[in-house]
């Protein structure tokens, strides 16, 4: 019996964004296990009922050090006894590196510890490099993780095509970082536009218990009919309730959040607001038929932890009347500046986002970088010159030359690192 383990120690959204990889492994192994932080075990079981899910103390608040130690010892004993054929260790963190020491380094895809030396595979090193120029980020995180396995399942098989569920509008009150969320007044105007544009359906406010105040602040900006149609579930839903609610919505209005990825997983249409450090080309909703509104100023996307020197200028377009007209589905005479409207699509590599309005000056460079990355992970497609949406048959060789030097370092060329990227290539059947 062939077994694989996926170690995903990050957060809510990341667990769902591991889906393409997990579906790939389900098709290749008899048994797939998933290790996540203990607090996220219910979510993981909900999203992946076919997996054996293990919870470990990876996050703050997991208990005292003694409890963490004793629980880890017990869990690691169980994991070691499973004798996994492959371990997909997905997070670049010290915790992940230390956990990988439990397994034969040759069986670890991703971040491994080899005789005490942490190793970053070439694929991840390429990603580290392209994140130095996030504006031209060529790959969605779902696809990045999926390509830790060679020839993952088709992108279109990951999530259902987005379709209305009849349950009205869901509104995610805020994301983890407040700068990436719309303030109540701006969000209320956006919700109102969608409300009016869709005939005044029910509104469900979603969030944590800490966001109850935010819900009240938001509703102060709602019109009477909107208030009447609004239900607040902030702090009232576990993962199961949340999935039940989100799965029935017509649309989910949200910043870049775990709930957004849950909606994409369930096939609920997403209208996502991406601003500040959020960048849809990295973590946009995965699937066909989602809409993303991406704030696009000179400094987009910024660094999450650095103070904003321009008073969150990327927020302004979301309050623009022209944008609200677009949200309401009215024909716009002109589109707001510093904002791009995009819809999610697939090409042969994975998900991508096509602009409906707004000019993204970085698009040509991103396209060429995607072509280079595609050459690395799915050369069949890239060489055929087909299947990559937005990529012209003619390649910009000058741009590719400079991007090639940006993406590949001398050590890639000189040291034997590439071979470890796809050690399971031999047992992979056809390319999709």
């Amino acid at each position: 019996m062939k077994k694989a383990l996926v170690i995903q120690l990050a957060r809510f959204g990341d667990i769902i964004q591991t889906k393409r990889l997990i579906l790939t492994l389900i098709g290749r192994y008899d048994e797939v296990h998933l290790a996540v932080d203990s607090s996220l075990v219910p979510l993981a079981r909900l999203v992946y009922p076919q997996l054996c899910v293990h919870g470990l103390a990876a996050h703050r608040g997991a208990g005292s050090p003694a409890e963490v130690f004793a629980a880890s010892r017990m869990l690691f004993g169980r994991l070691a006894s499973e004798r996994f054929d492959a371990v997909y260790n997905l997070n670049f963190s010290r915790l992940n590196f230390s956990l990988s020491a439990l397994f034969d380094a040759d069986s670890v895809r991703g971040y491994a510890m080899r005789s005490g030396q942490p190793e970053v595979p070439l694929w991840a090193r390429l990603a580290f490099r392209w994140t130095r120029k996030r504006r031209i980020a060529p790959l969605n995180l779902v696809d990045f993780w999926a390509y830790f396995a060679r020839n993952p399942v088709c992108a279109g098989e990951v999530n259902p095509v987005a379709a209305r569920g009849g349950g009205g509008i869901g509104v995610v009150l805020a994301g983890r970082d407040s700068r990436r969320s719309l303030p109540p007044a701006v969000l209320a105007a956006c919700v109102q536009a969608v409300f009016e544009g869709t005939g005044g359906p029910a509104i469900t406010l979603l969030g944590t218990a800490a966001e109850k105040t935010l819900a009240r602040q938001l509703m102060r900006h709602f019109s009477g009919p909107m208030v009447e149609r609004t239900v607040t579930l902030a702090g009232k839903t576990g993962y199961s309730d949340l999935a039940e609610v989100v799965g029935t919505l017509d649309t989910l209005i949200t910043p870049d959040t775990g709930t957004m990825h849950l909606a994409a997983h369930l096939g609920t249409p997403v209208q996502a607001f991406f601003l500040s450090s959020a960048w849809c080309f990295e973590t946009g909703p995965y699937g066909m038929g989602h809409r993303v509104w991406q704030g696009l100023v000179q400094c987009s996307p910024c660094e999450e932890n650095r103070p904003c020197p321009v008073s969150v200028a990327c927020l302004a377009p979301f309050a623009d009347k022209r944008f609200l007209q677009v949200l309401a589905g009215k024909a716009a005479e002109a589109y707001p500046e510093h904002l791009s409207g995009l819809v999610s699509m697939f090409d042969a590599v994975g998900v991508t986002y096509l602009p409906v309005f707004g000019e993204d000056m970085a698009a040509p460079e991103r396209r060429e970088l995607r072509r280079l990355v595609a050459e690395h992970v799915c050369p069949e497609t890239a060489n055929a010159g087909a299947g990559l949406i937005g990529l012209s048959a003619m390649q910009d060789m000058t741009l590719q030359d400079s991007l090639g030097r940006f993406l590949f370092s001398e050590s890639d060329w000189m040291l034997d690192a590439a071979g470890r990227d796809f050690p399971d290539v031999a047992d992979v059947p056809g390319f999709c």
Binding site: V68, A70, R73, A80, S93, A101, L102, A105, S115
Partner: protein, 434 residues
Amino acid sequence: MNSSLCDDAASRGEKARVLVVLPMYGGSLPVGRYCVDALRNLGHTVEVFEAPDFHSAFSALKGLRVTTDRLEYLENSFLQVVSQAVLAKVETFEPDLVLALAQAPLSRQALKRLRRDGVATAMWFVEDHRLFTYWRAFAPYYDFFAVIQKDDFLDKLEELGVEGALYLPLAALASFHKPVDLSPVEKRRFGADVSFMGAGYPNRRLAFRQFTGYDFKIWGTEWEGEPLLQRHVQLGGARVSPEDAVRIYNATRINLNLHSSVHTSELVGRGDFVNPRTFELAACGAFQLVDERSLLPELFACDELVTFSSVEELHGLIRDYLEDEEARQAYALRARERVLREHTYEHRMQALLDFVRAKRPSWPAVRRTLESALHGAQLPSELTAELGQLLESLGLPADASFDDLCWAVRQRKGTLTELETALLFLQEWKKQYA
């Protein structure tokens, strides 16, 4: 929880984490390895920077056949990379002390960085400062500078502003340099009436021409071009391993120990420092005739070592002692006892660390015990027992610090056990959320 695992951190403040930076090659390399063993024997946590692993790359530069200025540039660049590797090791290991042996690849820039970061550095300069004059350019960058010579050298260091200078003579490693039982074949192969083990310095070449009438074996390198001695030179002048050196010392009736000199005007130089061979021969329980050194009397008494001050005197002593096995054995025994009592590398390392401790009152840093890492909480008894077994298998004391335990686990090759992995996981978890 086992009380032995839970001792107060303060009571274990004596143990240090030491990063030993070996030279890429040369005479101080084995001394560095002996220091590593000695520090470990004293219970300290030791990590080694294996500079010899970089030597082949360094040698390759010399084989390039390029212009001298280009070669110098490449060598300096390479040494900067190796220095950076040492710094990376320091960053990961977080030592209380970086102990470098003479010629260790630590650049001034790296030493400045270590000083800025508050990492104590020590150099054991086991060379003759009159020959290796480059010490001037490096000594001020070390916090502690141990030397094998006294008087004018210590004065010069003081003039340079080096406050942490100390006299630290060479020594022997008792667990290695010891009497050994040799097979008849080994006795034939390594034994002789008279032997010398060492490089063919000019003073030795001239002096030893007078002993060709004896059953005399010369071991070591750099004896080429000395026709009179060729039939005495063993293994074609190949390098002799430290293990074989111990066999030679043990198998020889009279071991000659003539300190090196590049001068031929005075075959017996009457220099100051005492070479490692003196201590090693003594520790092996081997009889030696050693030339007089100004620092020898304070290290060995006159009934422990037989000394000579001229080649003529040496000649006479060889004749006398070849016939007197009882006297040879008596000297050898007393010399060995003296070494074991005062001149082992454990003694030297203890002296060095005591010196550092005296200069830096809060040194070494008190590290967390496993108990404090667990905030004093009780562990299940079976887990405590498992930990006890792990400490034992790692050769660590029961009161080893949490960080030392984790470090020892990290040194293990291959996959780790669930207990070892849980320890590393806990260490990272604490770093992340402390």
